[in-house]
Symmetry: C2
Subunit: 144 residues, 2 copies
Amino acid sequence: MTPTNDVPTSTNAVPTAGTPAGVLRGTVETYWASAVARDWDAFADTLAEDVVYELPQTRERIRGRERYVRFNRDYPADWHARVERIVAEPGQVVSWIQVTVGPEEMDAVSFFTGDAHGRITSVIDFWPEPYEPPAGREHLVERY
Amino acid sequence: MTPTNDVPTSTNAVPTAGTPAGVLRGTVETYWASAVARDWDAFADTLAEDVVYELPQTRERIRGRERYVRFNRDYPADWHARVERIVAEPGQVVSWIQVTVGPEEMDAVSFFTGDAHGRITSVIDFWPEPYEPPAGREHLVERY
């Protein structure tokens, strides 16, 4: 620890570019912005060569930048996305985005890890779907 | 910024107790450990009085510590959980846990915010379920 480090210490601080947590946070922001813009060169630049993508819900895995860019480029739907939340620490970031496809809205939660250059080395994606709440807890909950 | 702050700067550092990010991380670790142990006093201690719990998939919301503890205490299933990943920054934490109920395994992802005392002020829970992958991307993916 040197006295010149500039990691924020406020309890409300958000990691910013230039901090260890901020590097990967910035990469993830670029990842989403370039995916939404269909800028596949910029998107590829956020990824390590040997990036691994996993979908635990389908138990699908994609290995390597080239295949993973192709998977996203070829994705059939005309989707858009808005970042709801990003949580970052050095080497790990989570994003929660809201994706819209026509009139449909979906949530997606993605766990990222990164390398020393701030490139993404792994992405684990969750796509939780709406469901009906079980009976018996109406006295505790409200619906929104 | 003082030269004596002890926020880690290593790119692989994990926030630890005593750092701004580490306080809420520790609270979330206690939240899960006490829930698994059914220690509802310790569980209640992790929560702010006016904590708000939301389930976007069912659009259910629970307001207040007392109701939220009751919701968890009364939950019918004999579940256990293992923390897969925690990502923490000052004021925000995300956990990914694997929950087992008998032979069934489920993932749960929870977004937490906290107050200045390190108590949890909001929890947003996602429970993503398995689904069959769409056809047409078999040339890019492997199954695991």
